[in-house]
Assembly symmetry: C2
Homo-oligomer: 197 residues x 2
DNA sequence: GTCTATACACAGATAGAC
DNA sequence: GTCTATCTGTGTATAGAC
Protein backbone atom coordinates (compact mmCIF):
# COMPACT_ATOMS: atom_id res chain seq x y z
CA UNK A 1 0.00 0.00 0.00
CA UNK A 2 1.39 3.36 -1.02
CA UNK A 3 1.64 6.20 1.42
CA UNK A 4 -1.50 8.26 0.96
CA UNK A 5 -1.45 11.95 1.79
CA UNK A 6 -3.75 12.95 4.60
CA UNK A 7 -5.57 15.17 2.17
CA UNK A 8 -6.52 13.21 -0.93
CA UNK A 9 -9.25 14.23 -3.38
CA UNK A 10 -11.87 11.97 -1.80
CA UNK A 11 -11.23 13.42 1.63
CA UNK A 12 -11.66 16.91 0.21
CA UNK A 13 -14.95 15.93 -1.45
CA UNK A 14 -16.27 14.51 1.79
CA UNK A 15 -15.49 17.72 3.64
CA UNK A 16 -16.89 19.91 0.87
CA UNK A 17 -20.15 18.00 0.45
CA UNK A 18 -21.96 19.18 3.61
CA UNK A 19 -21.01 22.78 2.82
CA UNK A 20 -22.40 22.68 -0.71
CA UNK A 21 -25.47 20.79 0.56
CA UNK A 22 -26.25 23.52 3.05
CA UNK A 23 -25.35 26.66 1.14
CA UNK A 24 -25.22 25.75 -2.55
CA UNK A 25 -22.55 26.54 -5.11
CA UNK A 26 -22.69 30.33 -4.73
CA UNK A 27 -22.94 30.14 -0.97
CA UNK A 28 -19.63 28.35 -0.50
CA UNK A 29 -16.19 29.76 -1.25
CA UNK A 30 -12.97 27.93 -1.88
CA UNK A 31 -11.77 29.50 1.36
CA UNK A 32 -14.70 27.86 3.16
CA UNK A 33 -13.84 24.46 1.72
CA UNK A 34 -10.16 24.89 2.49
CA UNK A 35 -10.95 25.77 6.09
CA UNK A 36 -13.20 22.72 6.44
CA UNK A 37 -10.48 20.46 5.06
CA UNK A 38 -7.77 22.10 7.13
CA UNK A 39 -5.56 23.34 4.30
CA UNK A 40 -5.04 26.58 2.42
CA UNK A 41 -7.08 27.39 -0.71
CA UNK A 42 -4.00 26.93 -2.86
CA UNK A 43 -3.82 23.27 -1.91
CA UNK A 44 -7.30 22.63 -3.32
CA UNK A 45 -6.15 23.76 -6.74
CA UNK A 46 -3.55 21.03 -6.78
CA UNK A 47 -6.39 18.44 -6.79
CA UNK A 48 -9.13 20.28 -8.68
CA UNK A 49 -8.68 22.62 -11.59
CA UNK A 50 -11.35 25.06 -10.42
CA UNK A 51 -14.40 25.45 -8.19
CA UNK A 52 -16.76 24.03 -10.81
CA UNK A 53 -14.84 20.79 -10.98
CA UNK A 54 -14.75 20.47 -7.21
CA UNK A 55 -18.48 21.06 -6.94
CA UNK A 56 -19.42 18.70 -9.76
CA UNK A 57 -17.25 15.93 -8.37
CA UNK A 58 -18.69 16.42 -4.90
CA UNK A 59 -22.24 16.10 -6.22
CA UNK A 60 -21.46 13.12 -8.42
CA UNK A 61 -19.64 11.44 -5.57
CA UNK A 62 -22.85 11.50 -3.55
CA UNK A 63 -25.23 10.75 -6.41
CA UNK A 64 -23.22 7.88 -7.84
CA UNK A 65 -23.50 5.69 -4.78
CA UNK A 66 -27.22 6.31 -4.25
CA UNK A 67 -28.30 5.80 -7.82
CA UNK A 68 -26.40 2.57 -8.24
CA UNK A 69 -28.21 1.26 -5.17
CA UNK A 70 -31.51 2.36 -6.67
CA UNK A 71 -30.83 0.64 -9.95
CA UNK A 72 -30.32 -2.66 -8.14
CA UNK A 73 -33.62 -2.29 -6.33
CA UNK A 74 -35.53 -1.53 -9.50
CA UNK A 75 -34.04 -4.57 -11.22
CA UNK A 76 -35.84 -7.00 -8.93
CA UNK A 77 -38.55 -9.12 -10.43
CA UNK A 78 -41.32 -8.68 -7.90
CA UNK A 79 -44.81 -7.72 -8.97
CA UNK A 80 -45.37 -3.99 -9.72
CA UNK A 81 -47.08 -3.00 -6.48
CA UNK A 82 -44.36 -4.67 -4.44
CA UNK A 83 -41.63 -3.04 -6.52
CA UNK A 84 -43.23 0.36 -6.13
CA UNK A 85 -43.39 -0.05 -2.39
CA UNK A 86 -39.81 -1.25 -2.22
CA UNK A 87 -38.63 1.75 -4.19
CA UNK A 88 -40.57 4.25 -2.11
CA UNK A 89 -39.37 2.66 1.10
CA UNK A 90 -35.78 2.85 -0.11
CA UNK A 91 -36.10 6.41 -1.42
CA UNK A 92 -37.70 7.73 1.76
CA UNK A 93 -35.12 6.06 3.95
CA UNK A 94 -32.20 7.41 1.93
CA UNK A 95 -33.59 10.95 1.88
CA UNK A 96 -34.27 10.78 5.59
CA UNK A 97 -30.83 9.45 6.41
CA UNK A 98 -28.61 11.46 4.07
CA UNK A 99 -29.60 15.10 4.24
CA UNK A 100 -26.67 16.09 2.04
CA UNK A 101 -27.99 13.93 -0.76
CA UNK A 102 -31.45 15.37 -0.36
CA UNK A 103 -30.26 18.97 -0.36
CA UNK A 104 -27.89 18.52 -3.28
CA UNK A 105 -30.81 17.19 -5.32
CA UNK A 106 -32.59 20.45 -4.61
CA UNK A 107 -29.62 22.59 -5.55
CA UNK A 108 -29.14 20.75 -8.82
CA UNK A 109 -32.74 21.43 -9.78
CA UNK A 110 -32.09 25.15 -9.31
CA UNK A 111 -28.75 25.36 -11.08
CA UNK A 112 -28.94 28.18 -13.58
CA UNK A 113 -25.70 27.34 -15.37
CA UNK A 114 -26.55 25.13 -18.37
CA UNK A 115 -23.00 23.83 -18.72
CA UNK A 116 -22.80 22.77 -15.11
CA UNK A 117 -26.31 21.31 -15.14
CA UNK A 118 -25.34 19.19 -18.11
CA UNK A 119 -22.36 17.75 -16.26
CA UNK A 120 -24.42 17.17 -13.13
CA UNK A 121 -27.22 15.22 -14.79
CA UNK A 122 -25.19 13.28 -17.31
CA UNK A 123 -25.29 9.54 -16.61
CA UNK A 124 -26.97 9.84 -13.25
CA UNK A 125 -30.71 10.41 -13.41
CA UNK A 126 -31.44 8.81 -16.75
CA UNK A 127 -31.35 5.14 -15.90
CA UNK A 128 -33.22 5.44 -12.63
CA UNK A 129 -35.87 7.65 -14.15
CA UNK A 130 -36.36 5.23 -17.02
CA UNK A 131 -36.81 2.36 -14.58
CA UNK A 132 -39.44 4.26 -12.59
CA UNK A 133 -41.18 5.23 -15.80
CA UNK A 134 -41.28 1.62 -16.91
CA UNK A 135 -42.63 0.54 -13.55
CA UNK A 136 -45.39 3.12 -13.89
CA UNK A 137 -46.53 1.51 -17.13
CA UNK A 138 -47.52 -1.58 -15.13
CA UNK A 139 -50.46 0.30 -13.65
CA UNK A 140 -53.42 2.01 -15.27
CA UNK A 141 -52.82 2.76 -18.93
CA UNK A 142 -54.48 6.15 -18.66
CA UNK A 143 -51.44 7.78 -17.03
CA UNK A 144 -48.67 9.24 -19.16
CA UNK A 145 -45.56 7.30 -18.05
CA UNK A 146 -43.30 10.34 -18.01
CA UNK A 147 -45.68 12.44 -15.93
CA UNK A 148 -46.33 9.53 -13.63
CA UNK A 149 -42.63 9.07 -12.94
CA UNK A 150 -42.31 12.78 -12.13
CA UNK A 151 -45.34 12.54 -9.84
CA UNK A 152 -43.97 9.59 -7.90
CA UNK A 153 -40.57 11.17 -7.42
CA UNK A 154 -42.02 14.54 -6.49
CA UNK A 155 -44.47 13.05 -4.05
CA UNK A 156 -41.60 11.52 -2.13
CA UNK A 157 -39.07 14.33 -2.50
CA UNK A 158 -41.34 17.14 -1.46
CA UNK A 159 -41.89 15.74 2.00
CA UNK A 160 -38.18 16.39 2.54
CA UNK A 161 -37.74 19.53 0.46
CA UNK A 162 -40.45 21.21 2.48
CA UNK A 163 -39.22 20.06 5.86
CA UNK A 164 -37.71 23.36 7.03
CA UNK A 165 -40.83 25.30 6.10
CA UNK A 166 -43.31 22.56 6.99
CA UNK A 167 -42.29 22.60 10.63
CA UNK A 168 -43.58 26.15 10.95
CA UNK A 169 -46.98 25.19 9.57
CA UNK A 170 -50.11 24.03 11.40
CA UNK A 171 -50.55 20.35 12.21
CA UNK A 172 -46.84 19.59 12.23
CA UNK A 173 -45.77 16.70 14.47
CA UNK A 174 -42.57 14.91 15.29
CA UNK A 175 -43.79 11.69 13.66
CA UNK A 176 -43.90 13.47 10.31
CA UNK A 177 -40.13 13.21 10.17
CA UNK A 178 -40.09 9.44 10.55
CA UNK A 179 -39.37 7.39 7.47
CA UNK A 180 -42.04 4.82 8.22
CA UNK A 181 -44.81 7.41 8.65
CA UNK A 182 -43.96 9.10 5.36
CA UNK A 183 -43.61 5.82 3.48
CA UNK A 184 -46.97 4.52 4.64
CA UNK A 185 -48.70 7.79 3.78
CA UNK A 186 -47.24 8.01 0.30
CA UNK A 187 -47.86 4.40 -0.69
CA UNK A 188 -51.46 4.51 0.54
CA UNK A 189 -52.18 7.77 -1.28
CA UNK A 190 -50.48 6.68 -4.48
CA UNK A 191 -52.19 3.34 -4.61
CA UNK A 192 -55.70 4.27 -3.53
CA UNK A 193 -56.14 7.98 -4.10
CA UNK A 194 -58.49 10.29 -2.25
CA UNK A 195 -61.88 9.02 -3.33
CA UNK A 196 -63.79 6.01 -2.05
CA UNK A 197 -64.78 3.54 -4.72
CA UNK B 1 -51.12 62.95 -7.37
CA UNK B 2 -47.56 63.55 -6.21
CA UNK B 3 -44.70 63.42 -8.61
CA UNK B 4 -43.24 59.94 -8.35
CA UNK B 5 -39.57 59.35 -9.07
CA UNK B 6 -38.81 57.12 -12.00
CA UNK B 7 -37.17 54.73 -9.63
CA UNK B 8 -39.44 54.00 -6.70
CA UNK B 9 -39.12 50.96 -4.41
CA UNK B 10 -41.73 48.95 -6.28
CA UNK B 11 -39.97 49.50 -9.58
CA UNK B 12 -36.73 48.28 -8.04
CA UNK B 13 -38.43 45.17 -6.68
CA UNK B 14 -39.87 44.34 -10.07
CA UNK B 15 -36.45 44.59 -11.68
CA UNK B 16 -34.76 42.62 -8.91
CA UNK B 17 -37.30 39.79 -8.85
CA UNK B 18 -36.29 37.96 -12.06
CA UNK B 19 -32.64 38.12 -11.01
CA UNK B 20 -33.25 36.56 -7.60
CA UNK B 21 -35.61 34.03 -9.19
CA UNK B 22 -32.93 32.86 -11.59
CA UNK B 23 -29.82 32.99 -9.44
CA UNK B 24 -30.93 33.09 -5.82
CA UNK B 25 -29.80 35.37 -3.02
CA UNK B 26 -26.11 34.49 -3.19
CA UNK B 27 -26.07 34.52 -6.98
CA UNK B 28 -27.13 38.15 -7.29
CA UNK B 29 -25.12 41.19 -6.21
CA UNK B 30 -26.36 44.65 -5.43
CA UNK B 31 -24.39 45.76 -8.48
CA UNK B 32 -26.42 43.33 -10.60
CA UNK B 33 -29.67 44.74 -9.29
CA UNK B 34 -28.49 48.31 -9.75
CA UNK B 35 -27.53 47.60 -13.35
CA UNK B 36 -30.93 46.02 -14.04
CA UNK B 37 -32.69 49.05 -12.56
CA UNK B 38 -30.40 51.52 -14.31
CA UNK B 39 -28.97 53.22 -11.25
CA UNK B 40 -25.83 52.97 -9.16
CA UNK B 41 -25.63 50.61 -6.16
CA UNK B 42 -25.63 53.58 -3.80
CA UNK B 43 -29.12 54.54 -4.95
CA UNK B 44 -30.52 51.18 -3.87
CA UNK B 45 -29.43 51.85 -0.30
CA UNK B 46 -31.61 54.93 -0.20
CA UNK B 47 -34.69 52.68 -0.56
CA UNK B 48 -33.54 49.52 1.22
CA UNK B 49 -31.36 49.33 4.26
CA UNK B 50 -29.42 46.28 3.03
CA UNK B 51 -29.47 43.36 0.60
CA UNK B 52 -31.51 41.18 2.94
CA UNK B 53 -34.33 43.70 3.07
CA UNK B 54 -34.36 44.09 -0.68
CA UNK B 55 -34.49 40.33 -1.21
CA UNK B 56 -37.17 39.72 1.41
CA UNK B 57 -39.36 42.48 0.04
CA UNK B 58 -38.93 41.19 -3.50
CA UNK B 59 -40.03 37.71 -2.47
CA UNK B 60 -42.93 38.95 -0.38
CA UNK B 61 -44.03 41.25 -3.17
CA UNK B 62 -44.47 38.21 -5.41
CA UNK B 63 -45.86 35.87 -2.78
CA UNK B 64 -48.37 38.35 -1.39
CA UNK B 65 -50.36 38.68 -4.59
CA UNK B 66 -50.46 34.96 -5.33
CA UNK B 67 -51.42 33.80 -1.89
CA UNK B 68 -54.23 36.29 -1.51
CA UNK B 69 -55.65 34.98 -4.79
CA UNK B 70 -55.34 31.44 -3.46
CA UNK B 71 -57.12 32.27 -0.24
CA UNK B 72 -60.11 33.56 -2.19
CA UNK B 73 -60.28 30.36 -4.20
CA UNK B 74 -60.15 28.15 -1.14
CA UNK B 75 -62.96 30.15 0.50
CA UNK B 76 -65.54 29.01 -2.04
CA UNK B 77 -68.24 26.69 -0.86
CA UNK B 78 -68.22 24.05 -3.56
CA UNK B 79 -68.06 20.39 -2.68
CA UNK B 80 -64.59 19.02 -1.76
CA UNK B 81 -63.72 17.36 -5.06
CA UNK B 82 -64.63 20.46 -6.99
CA UNK B 83 -62.65 22.68 -4.64
CA UNK B 84 -59.62 20.44 -4.92
CA UNK B 85 -59.78 20.58 -8.70
CA UNK B 86 -60.23 24.33 -8.68
CA UNK B 87 -57.21 24.75 -6.44
CA UNK B 88 -55.00 22.47 -8.51
CA UNK B 89 -56.08 24.15 -11.71
CA UNK B 90 -55.26 27.55 -10.26
CA UNK B 91 -51.95 26.42 -8.76
CA UNK B 92 -50.74 24.78 -11.96
CA UNK B 93 -51.70 27.77 -14.06
CA UNK B 94 -49.95 30.23 -11.77
CA UNK B 95 -46.76 28.14 -11.61
CA UNK B 96 -46.81 27.74 -15.36
CA UNK B 97 -47.35 31.42 -16.02
CA UNK B 98 -45.14 33.03 -13.42
CA UNK B 99 -41.75 31.34 -13.45
CA UNK B 100 -40.36 33.88 -11.01
CA UNK B 101 -42.93 32.86 -8.42
CA UNK B 102 -42.16 29.20 -9.00
CA UNK B 103 -38.41 29.63 -8.72
CA UNK B 104 -38.58 31.88 -5.66
CA UNK B 105 -40.61 29.17 -3.92
CA UNK B 106 -37.73 26.80 -4.56
CA UNK B 107 -35.12 29.23 -3.30
CA UNK B 108 -37.06 29.87 -0.11
CA UNK B 109 -37.20 26.14 0.62
CA UNK B 110 -33.39 26.04 0.42
CA UNK B 111 -32.66 29.17 2.43
CA UNK B 112 -30.11 28.26 5.07
CA UNK B 113 -30.41 31.50 7.02
CA UNK B 114 -32.95 30.94 9.82
CA UNK B 115 -33.53 34.65 10.37
CA UNK B 116 -34.27 35.28 6.71
CA UNK B 117 -36.39 32.14 6.41
CA UNK B 118 -38.47 33.35 9.33
CA UNK B 119 -39.16 36.66 7.60
CA UNK B 120 -39.92 34.95 4.31
CA UNK B 121 -42.50 32.52 5.66
CA UNK B 122 -44.17 34.78 8.19
CA UNK B 123 -47.77 35.45 7.28
CA UNK B 124 -47.60 33.94 3.82
CA UNK B 125 -47.81 30.18 3.76
CA UNK B 126 -49.76 29.60 6.94
CA UNK B 127 -53.27 30.50 5.89
CA UNK B 128 -53.11 28.79 2.53
CA UNK B 129 -51.58 25.67 3.99
CA UNK B 130 -54.25 25.52 6.68
CA UNK B 131 -56.97 25.80 4.05
CA UNK B 132 -55.50 22.95 2.01
CA UNK B 133 -55.16 20.87 5.12
CA UNK B 134 -58.78 21.45 6.02
CA UNK B 135 -59.84 20.55 2.51
CA UNK B 136 -57.92 17.30 2.81
CA UNK B 137 -59.95 16.34 5.84
CA UNK B 138 -63.02 16.12 3.60
CA UNK B 139 -61.67 12.96 2.03
CA UNK B 140 -60.71 9.62 3.53
CA UNK B 141 -60.10 9.84 7.26
CA UNK B 142 -57.10 7.53 7.08
CA UNK B 143 -54.80 10.26 5.77
CA UNK B 144 -52.97 12.55 8.17
CA UNK B 145 -54.16 16.06 7.16
CA UNK B 146 -50.74 17.63 7.47
CA UNK B 147 -49.00 15.00 5.35
CA UNK B 148 -51.82 15.08 2.84
CA UNK B 149 -51.48 18.83 2.38
CA UNK B 150 -47.73 18.43 1.82
CA UNK B 151 -48.41 15.65 -0.69
CA UNK B 152 -50.89 17.70 -2.70
CA UNK B 153 -48.61 20.73 -2.84
CA UNK B 154 -45.54 18.66 -3.68
CA UNK B 155 -47.33 16.73 -6.36
CA UNK B 156 -48.10 19.98 -8.16
CA UNK B 157 -44.88 21.83 -7.44
CA UNK B 158 -42.51 19.11 -8.48
CA UNK B 159 -43.74 19.06 -12.05
CA UNK B 160 -42.32 22.58 -12.28
CA UNK B 161 -39.31 22.24 -10.02
CA UNK B 162 -38.08 19.37 -12.12
CA UNK B 163 -38.70 21.00 -15.47
CA UNK B 164 -35.10 21.87 -16.33
CA UNK B 165 -33.92 18.36 -15.51
CA UNK B 166 -37.03 16.55 -16.73
CA UNK B 167 -36.52 17.74 -20.29
CA UNK B 168 -33.29 15.77 -20.49
CA UNK B 169 -35.01 12.56 -19.41
CA UNK B 170 -36.64 9.84 -21.53
CA UNK B 171 -40.27 10.22 -22.57
CA UNK B 172 -40.28 14.01 -22.38
CA UNK B 173 -42.72 15.76 -24.69
CA UNK B 174 -43.76 19.33 -25.38
CA UNK B 175 -47.26 18.71 -24.02
CA UNK B 176 -45.78 18.02 -20.60
CA UNK B 177 -45.29 21.75 -20.21
CA UNK B 178 -48.94 22.60 -20.80
CA UNK B 179 -51.02 23.56 -17.80
CA UNK B 180 -54.02 21.51 -18.90
CA UNK B 181 -51.99 18.30 -19.34
CA UNK B 182 -50.42 18.59 -15.93
CA UNK B 183 -53.67 19.50 -14.21
CA UNK B 184 -55.55 16.54 -15.67
CA UNK B 185 -52.76 14.15 -14.78
CA UNK B 186 -52.51 15.31 -11.17
CA UNK B 187 -56.22 15.40 -10.45
CA UNK B 188 -56.74 11.93 -11.92
CA UNK B 189 -53.85 10.46 -9.97
CA UNK B 190 -54.79 12.15 -6.72
CA UNK B 191 -58.43 11.16 -6.91
CA UNK B 192 -58.16 7.60 -8.17
CA UNK B 193 -54.64 6.38 -7.43
CA UNK B 194 -52.73 3.72 -9.31
CA UNK B 195 -54.74 0.62 -8.55
CA UNK B 196 -57.98 -0.53 -10.12
CA UNK B 197 -60.80 -1.12 -7.69
C1' DG C 1 1.68 18.14 -1.89
C1' DT C 2 1.30 22.08 0.76
C1' DC C 3 2.79 26.34 1.96
C1' DT C 4 3.33 31.89 1.74
C1' DA C 5 2.41 35.58 -0.78
C1' DT C 6 -0.07 37.91 -3.85
C1' DA C 7 -2.75 39.46 -8.01
C1' DC C 8 -6.91 41.30 -9.25
C1' DA C 9 -11.93 41.34 -9.58
C1' DC C 10 -15.95 41.88 -7.08
C1' DA C 11 -18.69 41.85 -2.73
C1' DG C 12 -21.66 44.91 0.65
C1' DA C 13 -21.94 49.22 2.30
C1' DT C 14 -21.20 54.37 3.33
C1' DA C 15 -19.81 59.61 3.02
C1' DG C 16 -20.71 63.58 1.14
C1' DA C 17 -21.37 66.42 -3.19
C1' DC C 18 -25.10 67.80 -6.23
C1' DG D 1 -32.97 60.88 -4.84
C1' DT D 2 -28.98 59.88 -7.26
C1' DC D 3 -24.45 60.49 -8.10
C1' DT D 4 -18.98 59.86 -7.58
C1' DA D 5 -15.68 58.10 -4.89
C1' DT D 6 -14.13 55.08 -1.76
C1' DC D 7 -13.53 51.87 2.35
C1' DT D 8 -12.91 47.23 3.59
C1' DG D 9 -13.54 42.47 3.18
C1' DT D 10 -13.89 38.50 0.37
C1' DG D 11 -13.94 36.03 -4.10
C1' DT D 12 -11.19 32.85 -7.54
C1' DA D 13 -6.96 31.71 -8.93
C1' DT D 14 -1.80 31.53 -9.56
C1' DA D 15 3.54 31.78 -8.86
C1' DG D 16 7.09 30.02 -6.79
C1' DA D 17 9.47 28.50 -2.35
C1' DC D 18 9.89 24.39 0.53
Amino acid sequence: MKKSPRTNPQHILERATPLFARHGYDGVSMRDVAAAVGVTPAALYHHFKDKDELYIQAVNHVFGKKFSDAKAIMADNDEPVKRLETFITWFVRVLNKDKDFQKLLQWVMLDSDPRRLQKLTKNTFQELFAAIQKLGESFKQQYDPHLLAVSIIGLVLYHFESSAVRKKLPGSRATHDQAKTITLHITALLENGLLTH
